[in-house]
């Protein structure tokens, strides 16, 4: 019976209970590791493992030389990646390809959140395997020069806090045709509309999701420390009227504060409106 609960799990459960019943309110600092060591009469490593559990559960965020703090109550920001956006009629407030570009800020406003994005950073770089696959670029032998792609990257914030990272990849030839892609500035009319005016109508897309450990860059941006939660990765490959892939957009979300949502068919309007 009971399966021998390790001490660090027990400690984590106790702290969790304190967080859930409000003894440790949101944003409060946890007892320091030293205090916990004394309180429980265990060694420092055991406490670290306990706190680590909570970090992985998203209940606690640790700032390395300051302390561990109860995570803000996840008033989740919902990204609606809606379906009904491919030339069919668009219900009011449901922009094209939700979650991308300017649709992101519109979505946030509907949910009474303030959102902003950094200026796009544009880089021309050697294509990596997954990007090549998605954009339909033939693989090259190792050692051969790799084809180049344009990457447009943005950092996105909600209520001033880091929310997601977005990288869009385009073939270099396309960017030469559609030069606004090379400028480090928002595309006023939206990327999808702009590319349409350049002859690439987005007629379909494929969305793929996965969860994975954050990279170092993502850890820094989200202000997380190692060993905390996984991020959600969303890859959207967009196809034009010739059935050719012409854009790959990769968005990385910090979970807990984000929900990814799709809506299909008829649902009550309250579902659209509600933010969680």
């Amino acid at each position: 019976m009971a399966d021998r609960i390790p001490k660090y799990v027990e400690i984590a459960q106790d702290l969790r209970a304190q967080i859930e019943d409000g003894t440790l309110p949101p944003a409060a600092q946890l007892p320091t590791e030293k205090e916990l060591v004394e309180h429980w009469g265990v060694s420092a490593n055991t406490i670290k493992k306990a706190v680590n559990e909570l970090r992985q559960q998203g209940l606690v965020e640790t700032v390395p030389q300051k302390g561990s703090f109860v995570a803000e109550p996840t008033a989740p920001f919902v990204i609606t990646l809606n379906h009904t956006d491919l030339g069919e009629e668009n219900p009011p407030g449901r922009g094209f390809g939700g979650g991308e570009g300017r649709a992101f800020t519109a979505e946030a406003e509907r949910q009474n959140h303030a959102a902003h994005s950094s200026k796009p950073e544009v880089k021309v770089e050697d294509a990596e395997e997954p990007q090549m696959r998605a954009l339909g670029i033939a693989p090259v032998a190792p050692g051969q020069p790799r084809p180049q792609v344009v990457r447009r990257s943005q950092q996105r914030f909600v209520d001033g806090k880091p929310n997601s990272l977005q990288h869009s990849y385009f073939k270099l030839e396309l960017a030469i045709q559609a030069q606004a892609l090379l400028k480090s500035a928002d595309i006023e009319e939206g990327t999808v509309a702009y590319l349409q005016s350049c002859g690439h109508v987005q007629t379909g897309y494929e969305d793929v999701f996965d969860a994975r450990q954050p990279t170092e860059e993502e850890l820094r941006f989200f202000g997380l420390s190692r060993g905390s939660l996984a991020v959600i990765e969303h890859r959207r490959t967009a196809y034009d009227q010739h059935g050719e892939p012409f854009r790959l957009t990769v968005t990385i979300y910090k979970p807990g504060t984000n929900r990814i949502r799709f809506i299909a068919g008829e649902v009550p309007v309250e579902v659209w409106e509600r933010g969680s």
Copy 2:
């Protein structure tokens, strides 16, 4: 410069490199912790942290009293939760509400995987908050008796290996009308079709995704040890012709071996066919 890489990260990177270049092929056992301790001249805890990194990255699976093994090359099984399934014409092979029920096995076959599901386990239980919210059941004060719901749970396997867990929730009144929901047996014609024959036509749904740490039950089912990767949770709330929510299906996927996919509009047929 270089930001002081901890030793355990360095060791993890070395092992990772060995996995990626094939020195440690899939399913091979890693050097034991003792061997790694000797090889690197570090203490056991440092090795454990290194291996833990790899576990969280999904590169390694540890079986407690046997050893750590290189994870099988993620030949990812792609669950296509397609859009074009709401009464519009269905392209061949794209069943209704992909990823659910029998559509799951059909999807697997298209990708040349063998899939099977356990017999549904049916339970009548007190509704929890999130289930009530989704099914549109009014909240009750704490202490009051909670309304009851029917839960149908299935374990799903691909190529004999645990793939996902699925729980569908229904209001008890609905299950009384539609009694097949109470039987611990597959519903031959599919749940959606069956409920349609009971007067609930699925006219829309909302999908929400999140990533989180696995529960104890999920750890056991997936054969993971604590501190390994996050799982992907997919919640689908289905609405009927009156705009009432009548079903909540929660599916938990082991990441790495699963990709969740949506397709909208026109994409080349190869995209439908390919398994990654």
